[in-house]
Point group: C2
Amino acid sequence: MQNSGSKPCSCPSLKLREVASMYFTLVAAFLVILVVALQGSAPRGSDFPYKVPLDPQGLLELSWNVSYPEQAVHFQLLIRELRFGLLFGMSDRGEFENADLAVLWSDGHNSYFGDAWSDAKGQLHMDSQQDYQLLGARRAPEGLYLLFRRAFSTCDPKDYLIEDGTVHLIYGILDTPVHSLQAINVSALHRGLQRVQLLKPNISIPELPSDMKSMEITAPDVVIPSQETTYWCYMSELPEGFPKHHIIMYEPVVTAGNEALVHHMEVFQCAAQFDSFPHYNGPCDSKMKPERLNYCRHVLAAWAMGAQAFYYPEEAGLAFGGPGSSRYLRLEIHYHNPLVFQGRRDSSGIRLYYTASLRRHDAGIMELGLVYTPVMAIPPGEEAFVLTGYCTDKCTQLALPAAGIHIFASQLHTHLAGRKVVTVLSRDGRERQVVNSDGHYSPHFQEIRMLKEVVAVFPGDELITTCTYNTEDRSRATVGGFGILEEMCVNYVHYYPQTQLELCKSAVDPGYLHRYFNLVNRFNDEEICMCPQVSVPQQFYSIPWNTFNRDVLKSLYDFAPISMHCNKSSAVRFPGEWEKQPLPSITERLPEPVPRCPPAPGPQPAAPVPLNLGRLRR
Amino acid sequence: MQNSGSKPCSCPSLKLREVASMYFTLVAAFLVILVVALQGSAPRGSDFPYKVPLDPQGLLELSWNVSYPEQAVHFQLLIRELRFGLLFGMSDRGEFENADLAVLWSDGHNSYFGDAWSDAKGQLHMDSQQDYQLLGARRAPEGLYLLFRRAFSTCDPKDYLIEDGTVHLIYGILDTPVHSLQAINVSALHRGLQRVQLLKPNISIPELPSDMKSMEITAPDVVIPSQETTYWCYMSELPEGFPKHHIIMYEPVVTAGNEALVHHMEVFQCAAQFDSFPHYNGPCDSKMKPERLNYCRHVLAAWAMGAQAFYYPEEAGLAFGGPGSSRYLRLEIHYHNPLVFQGRRDSSGIRLYYTASLRRHDAGIMELGLVYTPVMAIPPGEEAFVLTGYCTDKCTQLALPAAGIHIFASQLHTHLAGRKVVTVLSRDGRERQVVNSDGHYSPHFQEIRMLKEVVAVFPGDELITTCTYNTEDRSRATVGGFGILEEMCVNYVHYYPQTQLELCKSAVDPGYLHRYFNLVNRFNDEEICMCPQVSVPQQFYSIPWNTFNRDVLKSLYDFAPISMHCNKSSAVRFPGEWEKQPLPSITERLPEPVPRCPPAPGPQPAAPVPLNLGRLRR
C-alpha cells in the first residue's frame, strides 16, 4: 500500500512549519498543522497510484492512494490554474447540498484551507470537527499541488462516509476573492462532479508469464463528435486461425490530452454463429451501423474512468480465440464531451495482454439478479423502491461443482433509475458475505470491479441481488425490460472455473402478479382490464397508484413464489422444475457495519488553516 | 438538580485515594479512580432524591439523581447483606442477555468492580470501555453503599442507552466467591428486575397555597394475600356537601416495610350518575365485589413504584367535590408479592393535597390513541407490529380554544402485548414535538409522568399516538378491546384549561376492513365467511396468517380512511362528519435523536478496579 503522502518527513528536502493554535474549546485542544512545502522534485506518481481528471478541461487532476491499515485516503489535487481557491468534496449523488467539502479560499492576500459542509440549501459552514487534514501545499510549474488526508469514517454526522463502490466527487472553482467561507456562493461557481471508485481493492499483482503478448483494440483516429454524449463503435478482428489464448490482463490506452473525454470503453466478442461481421467505425446509434453488430455482446474487457489495469487471478484467464469462438470484436467507447470541443482526434482503446500457455482455469461470467421481464415493476414517484432477484440453492446445487466457484470481480448493472445494488451470499438461510455492494451506484458509471476478497460459492448457496430505484421524476410505472426507460437489476460476476451456468436469475410468478392486478382492481373499485390481449406493462400503466397499491406490490414481491431462470445460456434451462419456486428464506441478516471512528486527537477547533500561497490574481 | 454525588470533595470528612494507572492502550490514557470512604455521616437523602427497592425483600435499595447538564445519572446502591458481590444493570426489557452491567465481585480475599456486558447467551464479558464509573464505596451499619455514575449515552455499542420512559433495571446476587468476571454463572444467581423511570424530569416545585389541606385515601389494615399478584379495591368517600376543590398535589403513603410489595396505586372517582356506591374492601376480582364499582373509572391520582409526589402546574388543579361530581372514590392497589409472604399487613394509599382557593384553570384529562374496537388488530407471531391512532386537525380545530391547551403530564396505556408507545404533535403536516415516548414501555408499569416540557396544542394540530406490540407467543390475532388479551393504545394526557374534548381517537374505517377480508379471501383461495353474523374478531381469527396477509393489513392501516371519535364524553360526539376521514399526512418527520457522546477522557482500559472491602464471608 502506498501511503507516503502521509509521511512527508521521509523526504530529505522538506521544509516544515508547525503551527500550534488554541481556539474556542474549553478543553485544551491543540491544532497542529503541518504546511509542507515540497521543493524541487514532484511527488512520485507511485505514491498516488490512482488518478482522474475532475473537470472536462482537465484543470483539476486528482490522484490518491488508499491505506487500509490507517483506514484513510490520501489525496493529491493538482490545480493547474489557481484563481482564488476551490471546493473539493463528496456527497451522496454528486449534489452540492448536504455535501462534505475541503475548501481552499483566498481574499487576494491570504489563503486558507478548511473542512466545511453545505446545508440543504447549499450554504457552506465550517465543520466543528476538521477531518480533511491538510498535509502540504506546493507550487510547481504545472500548478499547485494540495496534499490532504481523510479517514474513511469520521463519526462526524456532517461528514461523508467513504464506503466501497462509487463515490461522487464534486468540485467548484473560485474565480473571485472571498473574505470568508460563508461568503462563497456555491450555486454561482464553475462546478461539476466526477464519479470514482475511491476505495480500490488492495490486490497484489499476479505473476505474468514470460510469453505474454499484447494487442491493442483501438479505434484509429476518430474525430470525437461535438456533442455531449457519443457511443462510438469500432469493429476489429483477431487474425485468422488465432488459437485459444487466455486474456490475463488488460489496460486502457487513452490518447494523451483526451483523459477527460474518454468516459468508458468495452470490448465485446461477437457471436460464434456468424462466420463474418462487417467492418464499422462510427457512432453506435447511427442508422448506418450494420444490424449484425447487435450480436457482439459477450464482454471481454471493460474499463471506466479512474480504473487501472485489470488482472485475472493467477489461476484463471478469459478464453478467446480457437474453434467455437468468433474472431470478431467490437470496441465501444463512450465519449463524454460536455464542453462540446470540436475536431478533437482520438485513438483510444484497450490493450489486451494474453498468453498461449493456458492457465489452469477458464474464467466465466455469470448473470445474477432479475430476469428482463415486465412482471418486475417499480411504481412511479418512489424515492427508494427495492426489487430483489434470486439465484436459489436449487440452481447452485445442480449447476456448481462440489469444489465451488470463486468470484473475483463483479460488474453491477441497472438502467437510469438504479441507485443502489448489492449481492449477498446466503448459506443455510444465513447471510454470510457481501459479494459486491454499491450504495451510491450510478448507471453512468459501470465498471468491472475486482473484489477485495474472492468469494467462494458452493452448491446449495444462494446469491441474492437487491436493487434500489428512484422514480420520483416518473409519472407511470417502470417495468423490467431492455429499454433505457425500462429497468434491469443485474450483477455480472466474473469467476472461475467456468461452469455451464450462465444465468441465475428470477422474477415473480406471473400467476401471482395476475392475482395482484385483480386485487388492486377490486379494492380500488377501478377497472383494470384482465383481458388476455392487454400486456403486463399496460396493466401496470393503468394502476391508479396510491400507497396501498404500492405497499401491496411490495408485499407481493416479498411473498409470491418465483420463476427461476437457471440457464446454460440465455435460452436453455437446466433440467428441472423452475416455476412457482419458494422464495429463499433468510433467518439471519448480516449485521450493519459499524463505522470505525479514528482514534483521538479528538475534536479539533473549527478554524481555517492559513496557507502561504503568495498573492493571487484574477 | 441534585448532583453532589459526583462531588464528594465538597464534604469535609472525605478521605480520597487517587489511583492513576496506565494500561494496554497505545494512546496514553489515564484511569483515575477515586475510592471514596465516607466516614461517619451517611450521604444525605436529598443527594439522591429518587429511591426504589430492587428485590422483593428489600436487600438492595437503589437511590439516584439525574444531572441534565452532565447528561449523567449518579447511583447510590445500598447492599444490606453483602455476600460475594452483585450485578446491577440495564437491559431492553429486563432480560439478562445482551445486558449492560456493573459488577462487584469477590474471590473471598479481594474485591473488584467493573463495567461488563452479557452476550446473547448471558455470558459476562469485561467491557472494553468502562462507563460505569465507580465514585466510592462505604461500609455503614445498614450495609455497603456503592456510588457510581453513568452517562445517559456512552456511544459504546455494548452499553445501554438511557432514554426517557421506562428503564428495566436488573440485579443478581453472588452467593459464592468467584475468581473472575467470566466465571460468574448468571443463570444460577438469585436475580430479578425492577422497572423505573430513571430520567425523572427536572421540574421546579410550584408554590403551594397556605390553605392547603390533605386527605389520605388509604385501605385500613389490609392483610396482603399470599399470592404473587393482587389488585385490592377499597371504597372511600368525601364528606357530604364537600364543595369543589382543586387537587394540587398528591403523594404515596406506603406502610413502612412494604416498600417492595406495593407496586402501584390509583384513586378513581365514581360516576356522578349514581347517588351512592356500596362500601367495599377486598380483591378487585372477587365475586363479592359489587358490580357498581365498575363505574368508578375517572382517574384522580396514580402512583407507581419509584415515582415521587405529583404536582399540578401553578396555573391548574384537578377539580373534585361540588355539585355534579361524585362523593365516592375507589382506591386500587396492586400488591406484587412474588415471595408469597404471609400475613403482611398494609395500610398504604395516596395522600391528596387540595385547596379551596381554586386555581385559574381546571385541569382535564383527554384520551388519545385508538378506539377500543376489534377492527384494529395485530396478527399473531409479530415481533414488533405497529398500530397508530389519530387525533385529527379537524377535531382539534373544533374542540380546542384559540389559545390552545397545555399538556403537562401523560399516562401511557396498553394491555399485555404493548412494548412501545409514543405520541407526537404534528402541525401543518410536519412533526414538531414528542409529547411522550416510552421505547421500553411495559404494561406492568403504568404511571402518570410529568412531561419535561409542557406541550402547547392549538386548534388544527394533530396528535398521533403509535403503539408497538409483540405477539410472538400468540397463535391467533389480537383484536382491540377491553379484555386483558385484547389490546388498547391509549395516552391519557393531563392538560389545562379543561375543555369539553374528552376523547380524540380513531380506528380504521370498517368498510375498508371489509374489503381487506374480501381481498385476503380471494388472494389466498380461502373461505373467510363474510356473512353478517360473523363478528370482526371471528374474521380475524380465521385469516391464514402469512407475510402477505400481514403486510397487506399494515398497508391497509397506513392507507384506509379512519372513523374519528371526537367526543365530549365516551358516548357523545362533537357535531360533524367523522366517518371516512382522511389519514393525516406527514410530510416531515422529527429527526432521530443523535446520542451525545461524553467528551474525552476517551476509551479506558478494560481492567477491573480493586476495592478494599476486607474479607467477605459466606
